[in-house]
């Protein structure tokens, strides 16, 4: 069964493997560029307050080189990989056999249906995990100075392209493809549905799943309006909202709102004589007026120190869903198929 699985799987596996290899080579070739730049700009081995400036110049120095392009490509590949694995590895796995009628040939060999699917799931799933894991491992190592300098590891976009989470997405996408093919019995339809499911999952994860898994911390601090802030207001109704960027370097800010002393979100109305186009005193007057409103900033955030804890949680959830879907597919192929 292992031979048969490999014989049918090798073309898509080699195609995906080539793509991965190209990225790994690109990462290897730019490795020295990243480390050299971090040394040159003084970021590597920096101490205390000097680090912030050194980090800035390190990131600046990276911009024109190949490294930043490779970085974006590798992140993109880790997002693309689950969709590719689901569409080209998972969806046709059973659907094509059902469509072409060859399931009748393979099911009349001396191998039970359950074992047939189990071996296919195991080999395909392991290959998906290996591919995504390898790329993510290399990228996480490669990008360590960059992640340190930008303190951007918790950024939802970067988070899913680091550590072990990509492994979970790739294996889940593979099994989603297999299960859809099993249920729809049509390769093309299964591919389309798989793409839809995988992309929806990738979009829903940072907005719904991850905040729920991470259990963000909420803090409320008084606003003094002596730093940077943004105002948007409607000159007719006086409705006004205030945006303040919380200083949470390295953390993932899930939400940040300006609230009044009652705890409700601050929406104005603004004093039209002090703020807005017709006000006389300019920006300082408005700033002073806002300062008198007794406003606070309510920030909900996930500390950067929770990075690995969150990685493991998200990975665990993805793998659990993968296992459930696999068991369902095995049950279906034994009991419900044809």
């Amino acid at each position: 069964m292992i031979w048969m699985t490999w014989r049918q799987f090798r073309t898509p596996a080699l195609a995906t493997g080539t793509l991965l290899l190209a990225l790994l080579v690109a990462l290897a070739l730019t490795w020295s560029e990243v480390t050299e730049l971090s040394t040159q700009t003084g970021y590597a081995g920096c101490q205390g307050d000097a680090c912030r400036a050194a980090a800035e110049s390190f990131l600046q120095a990276l911009q024109p080189g190949w490294a930043s392009e490779v970085h974006i490509a590798a992140i993109g590949a880790l997002y693309l990989l689950p969709a590719l694995v689901g569409i080209f590895w998972g969806a046709p796995l059973v659907a094509r056999e059902l469509e072409s009628g060859t399931y009748r040939m393979v099911f009349s060999q001396s191998v039970s249906r359950g074992r047939w699917l189990l071996v296919k799931l195991a080999i395909g799933g392991a290959a998906a995990a290996l591919g995504a894991g390898l790329l993510s491992l290399v990228l996480t190592e490669w990008a360590q100075p960059i992640d340190g300098a930008s303190a951007d590891r918790m950024n939802p976009l970067v988070f899913a392209a680091r550590g072990i989470v990509p492994v979970g997405y790739a294996t889940l996408a593979f099994v989603v493809g297999v299960a859809t093919g099993l249920l729809l019995r049509r390769t093309l339809g299964a591919m389309a549905v798989t793409l839809l499911v995988v992309v929806s999952l990738q979009i829903a994860a940072p907005f719904v799943v991850r905040p729920w898994l991470a259990q963000p911390v909420t803090t409320v601090s008084p606003l003094t309006f002596d730093g940077d802030f943004g105002i948007s207001m409607s000159p007719d109704t006086g409705r006004m909202t205030v945006h303040v960027e919380p200083d949470r370097r390295g953390d993932w800010v899930v939400s940040s709102t300006t609230i009044t002393s009652t705890g409700a979100e601050f929406t104005g109305p603004a004093d039209m004589t002090k703020c807005g186009r017709n006000a006389s005193g300019g920006r300082e007057t408005c700033q002073r007026w806002l300062g008198e409103q007794n406003l606070s900033l309510k920030v909900s955030y996930v500390p950067g120190s929770k990075f690995w804890g969150l990685q493991w949680r998200e990975f665990g959830v993805l793998i659990a869903v993968t296992v459930v879907l696999s068991l369902f597919s095995l049950w279906w192929v034994r009991r419900r198929l044809v």
Binding site: W3, R7, Q8, S100, T102, R104, M105, F107, V111, V338
Partner: protein
């Protein structure tokens, strides 16, 4: 005589549609058995139930004394339209058989491939219908099953490919001693290879028996038009047709018919099968014959 396949009130429904309904039959082992019937009689469904590809909705089915399961090493199956993996070569198919079947007979497979002139390096998707059928038969036969089921294997083949395929099947039956059940809606295909025949119409067994017996006991009677209620003991009416002056009957009789008022003719197998298929509606004679061997 042991049985290769026994069914009892076997029913398979898809939603409200019945593909096979209350089918009861007993197929003896050690024969090349032809399963003949019109399209939609339930032949494919019966064979897929027998190899475990389908599960019955109701009733009982026993293959070689056990419940059929897919993946059994004792039952081989060549499905309708003889599906093969288009992207795999002929040699790959043999390698698949060797990997997936503990009882695989590699020498038999190689020999058969050479015999029918298949190029091992050729992709199965590029084979002709006849070659594909030969490949599927080879894979099924080299598994060395005790029972080989074939679902309309020659339906799509031209006459020459058909003859070669049936020739190969005969050789396998003779060499390997496996029981073979083969379905077709063409009697001519079965006549050449089968020594036992089952006529299935609307999932009921109309007649079953050894081909020689069937040929010996069926007669066509032509004579003056008359009432057909009284044919005498040991005779059963299979089919009748009347004109103004003449009656034509197909009768099953164990004893020879000596009656000067009838002109008695022998029938060939195709005539017998057609008589059972067209006589299936109405007259109740079929009910008497049901289950007889």
């Amino acid at each position: 005589m042991t049985s290769a396949l026994i069914t009892d009130c076997l029913t398979k429904r898809y939603g409200r549609r019945s593909a096979l309904k209350d089918c009861t039959l007993d197929i003896p082992a050690g024969h090349v058995v032809g399963l003949v019937g019109p399209n939609g009689a339930g032949k494919s469904t019966l064979l897929q139930l027998a190899c475990g590809l389908l599960d019955p909705t109701a009733g009982r089915i026993e293959v070689l004394g056990a419940q059929p399961v897919s993946g059994s090493p004792r039952v081989g199956f060549v499905a309708q339209d003889t599906p093969v993996y288009a992207g795999l070569t002929v040699a790959d198919h043999l390698r698949m058989g060797a990997h997936l079947n503990p009882s695989w007979d590699g020498a038999l497979a190689e020999r058969r491939i050479a015999q029918v002139g298949l190029d091992p390096a050729q992709k199965a998707g590029k084979l002709s219908g006849g070659q594909r059928a030969q490949l599927a038969l080879t894979v099924a036969a080299a598994k060395r099953p005790n029972l080989l089921l074939l679902d309309e294997p020659v339906a799509a083949l031209d006459p020459l490919a058909r003859r070669n395929f049936l020739q190969g099947l005969m050789e396998l039956a003779a060499e390997q001693g496996m029981s073979i059940v083969m379905s077709s809606h063409l009697v001519a295909d079965l006549e050449r290879v089968c020594d036992h025949l089952i006529v299935l119409v609307a999932s009921r067994v109309r007649v079953a028996g050894d081909v020689d017996d069937l040929l010996a006991t069926h007669h066509r009677l032509v004579g003056r038009r008359r009432d057909t209620t009284d044919l005498g003991a040991g005779r059963a009416l299979v089919e009748q047709s009347h004109t103004e002056v003449q009656s034509t009957l197909v009768v099953r009789s164990t004893a020879p018919i000596v009656d000067p008022s009838w002109q008695v003719d022998r029938l060939d197998l195709e005539d017998i099968v057609l008589a059972y298929m067209s006589g299936a509606t109405g007259d109740g004679a079929g009910r008497v014959l049901e289950g007889q061997r």
